[in-house]
């Protein structure tokens, strides 16, 4: 790993100032993706601004929405009693990311800002119609994720929290890569009453909504309803773990499992 200058500001304003000054600087939250990437030589920033000193941690459940601060770890999300009541599927999802040691460090903000195409959280944010709060503005999930490791975050913009509307029911199912625990395919379904949203991760170059499924599920929110709804193979990922056809098939299977698990 190339050397860099390390900063661990205690205040958001200081983090903003430091990152604004460093052209080749990066923000780090838990570091669970960034550090392995740097070890492989795929990133060599001049400066690392560690956001873990901000203490931006916490889950607040309100009447119609849940706000989770960006620095909250997967372990904290997974074990939150309040969240398990409000959006149990989100707690389940967090508890299936990586392994226990990774969940002690990895955070919601870090995961979504990195936008790995096989990360779990993006599927939930899409399906739950979440809003990403940054130090500058609020961004709808639909506008936030831009495909392969890209988001609409601008230079120096820092994710501070995510707002999740509380759905009537939601469920998540993933077919995990047995070594990395990343999703080969993960599907998050959420029934918002008037509308249903389906977020798919792992299958394509970035998270996407399966709109054909959303349409039938709006009328009948059940596993049977999505039987026979195909996912277009054209744009899907293909690698040594799974072909595009296999991934397309898995979208259907995971959607059914997510619907069966929905609470």
């Amino acid at each position: 790993m190339e050397n860099f200058d390390y900063h661990r500001p205690a205040k958001l304003a200081d983090a903003e100032k430091i990152i604004a000054k460093q052209k080749e600087g990066v923000l780090m939250s838990g570091g669970m993706t960034l550090l392995p990437t740097m070890k492989q030589g795929l990133a060599a920033p001049s400066d690392v601004v560690d956001l873990s000193g901000l203490g931006n941690v916490g889950i607040k459940v309100m009447k119609t929405k849940v706000t989770i601060k960006a620095g909250t770890t997967h372990a904290e999300v997974a074990k939150s009693g309040d969240l398990k009541k409000a959006i149990p599927a989100l707690a389940v999802l967090a508890g299936e990311i990586g392994d226990p040691h990774v969940r002690h460090k990895g955070t919601l903000g870090g995961s979504i800002a990195n936008n790995d195409p096989a990360a779990d959280y993006p599927a939930a944010l899409m399906a739950l119609d979440a809003t990403i709060i940054t130090n500058k503005r609020a961004i709808a999930a639909d506008k936030f994720f831009k495909g392969l490791f890209e988001t609409s975050l601008r230079r120096g913009e820092i994710v501070t929290a995510v707002d999740f509307p509380i759905p009537e029911k939601a469920g998540y199912a993933k077919f995990a890569n047995p070594a990395s625990r990343y999703a080969i395919v993960g599907v998050f379904v959420a029934n918002h009453g008037k509308a249903v949203r389906v977020g798919v991760t792992g299958a394509g170059p970035g998270v996407f909504r399966q709109k054909a499924m959303e349409r039938v599920l709006a009328k009948d929110f059940s596993a049977d309803a999505v039987a026979g709804i195909a996912t277009k193979v054209d744009d899907l990922n293909e690698d040594m773990h799974a072909s595009a056809e296999y991934r397309a098939h898995l979208v259907g299977v995971m959607a059914k499992r997510a619907l069966k698990a929905a609470k």
């Binding site: 200058d5 390390y6 550090l35 070890k39 392994d99 040691h101 990774v102 460090k105």
Partner: protein, 154 residues
């Protein structure tokens, strides 16, 4: 060069590090605590697990500087007064190791499981919780037994 200060196994320590120095490098190279191992370069094997402020983390994926002011426990800090900790003794009694390379991480993970899930552990719980620890020798069976046994004796 930046200086990092932390408490390791009850002792206050500090040392010169670089931004890129990993916690595991600081432990092994600066402090000569070589019980914590490095088994991979991809954050998967768990041979490097230590506790930072009471939580199990992978010290190969933690920057030394980010542990500034933290309380760190490594495998060397587990035994008391020259006696093996019940979790360590259980690994010995149950043949929970062959080459022993993964063992420090397994013991530290085992202690973390007990902290979060209690002393009465089901086999499935232990197997699921060991997701982040790889052993190339034992086939896991005796590791699971060791953790179950060690937990019950804590």
């Amino acid at each position: 060069m930046p200086i990092v200060t932390m408490n390791v196994n009850g002792k206050d320590v500090s040392g010169d590090v670089e931004g890129r120095t990993l916690l595991v490098e600081f432990l092994r190279e600066n402090l000569s605590l070589t019980g914590t191992h490095v088994g991979c370069d991809t954050s998967q094997c768990g041979a490097c697990v230590v506790h930072v402020d009471g939580k199990a983390v992978k010290s190969c994926s933690t920057l030394a500087l980010s542990a500034e002011g933290a309380k760190v426990t490594t495998i060397e800090g587990v035994a008391r007064n020259g006696e093996l900790h019940p979790m360590q003794a259980a690994f010995k009694a149950n043949h929970g190791l062959q080459c022993g390379f993964c063992t420090p991480g397994m013991v530290m993970a085992g202690l973390d499981i007990v902290k979060r899930r209690g002393k009465k552990l089901k086999e499935e719980t232990i197997r699921a919780e060991l997701e982040g620890n790889i052993c190339r020798c034992t086939g896991y069976h005796n590791i699971v037994k060791s953790i179950q046994d060690g937990a019950s004796k804590m």
